[in-house]
Subunit: 211 residues, 2 copies
């Protein structure tokens, strides 16, 4: 898994590391990235400013831990979609879970998916394409294809196309490029998502061309 190793997070008192990440996350969610200063985090975690450096190499590493917690939450949320009865409903629920997470945790979403990277492309952390959440989406699509709910095609490519479409809408909305309030935005997304899990419409729209 991630940074934390041996812990039964069920009942023990939180470790200093956990308190520090928790403090950073709280500050981040409440007031954004610039509010996450090492001093503020330390104060909130009730340690001295330099204590955080015993657990995280730098502020950047701490923010990375916050991001990973976001990904954990995100994946957990997606997995709720498995409760739906059929493949089509599961894909639909996955899309809804994606949207809900992004709108309820806009800063986390931005940290996880909208951070441009300074260095050359294909350098940083493992691409999300290989991550559990993307695999989950691919599985949902493959499931639909297998059930004959959508035209056959490389499920990875289909997932990428669908993901890009939804992420494009979400990230433009979060970057405030759309003159829409949340309700109008959800309505817009609903149309796209409805197409996404309604095989009788030509979905995935570009399946014929891409696959």
């Amino acid at each position: 898994m991630s940074a934390g190793q041996r812990r039964d997070a069920t009942k023990r008192a939180p470790t200093a590391s956990e308190r520090i990440v928790e403090a950073a996350r709280a500050l981040f969610v409440e007031a954004g990235e610039t509010a996450v200063t090492m001093r503020a985090v330390a104060a909130r975690a009730k340690v001295s400013p330099m204590a955080a450096y015993r657990h995280f190499e730098s502020r950047e590493a701490l923010m990375h831990a916050v991001m990973e917690r976001g990904h954990d939450d995100f994946l957990r949320r997606m997995h709720h979609a498995l409760a739906a009865p059929g493949p089509g409903e599961r894909l639909a629920a996955t899309g809804r879970a994606y949207l809900d997470f992004a709108l309820e945790n806009p800063r986390d979403y931005a940290l996880m998916f909208m951070q441009s990277v300074a260095g050359d492309p294909c350098a940083g952390a493992p691409a999300w394409r290989d991550a559990a959440t993307f695999r989950f989406l691919v599985d949902r699509i493959a499931e639909c294809t297998a059930a004959g709910l959508m035209p056959p095609g490389d499920p990875e490519l289909l997932a990428l196309s669908l993901w890009a479409h939804i992420h494009g809408l979400v990230s433009l909305y979060l970057a405030q490029k759309l003159a829409l309030d949340e309700a109008a935005f959800r309505a817009l997304c609903d149309r796209v998502l409805t197409l996404a899990w309604r095989p009788e419409a030509t979905f995935p729209p570009d399946a014929a061309g891409i696959a």
Copy 2:
């Protein structure tokens, strides 16, 4: 040329403001947002550190000016697509111009379109939906619809859908979420864009559903 300094009437010397934005832009493009410090900008513009504050209220305002220069360049680039002979070709060229700009100016693109905003949604600058570049895309699509190159539908909604799709791909690529090098990424985008300007394919893919 003699010792006498020659003044080109058409091309006067840049003002201090212009030099400062130019310096900020250069630093930003070369080394990213963190490299754009007021002191570094001032040094590059050959003024004292505080001089920039006579022209920009804050560092944030200066970055905003850099962003606006990016939007100017972007719009100019898009307008080259008008040289193409027909509506279909113009829409295709518009998509290519979008992609080219993003890949050639990744930091500018991220500054312009991938910046999440702290405040509540629908608060900041005028939404891009109202901006000239989006209008341009809407016009290209309306043009195609009028020419019978694609099924009728609200061109604004169609443009939004197409924009989101492309922007989703681009921004995920720039955020390094895709395990693709630039060539592979371009190939992927080409398939989507081909569908976008090829009316005989079902484009825009979700036109029937959205419109």
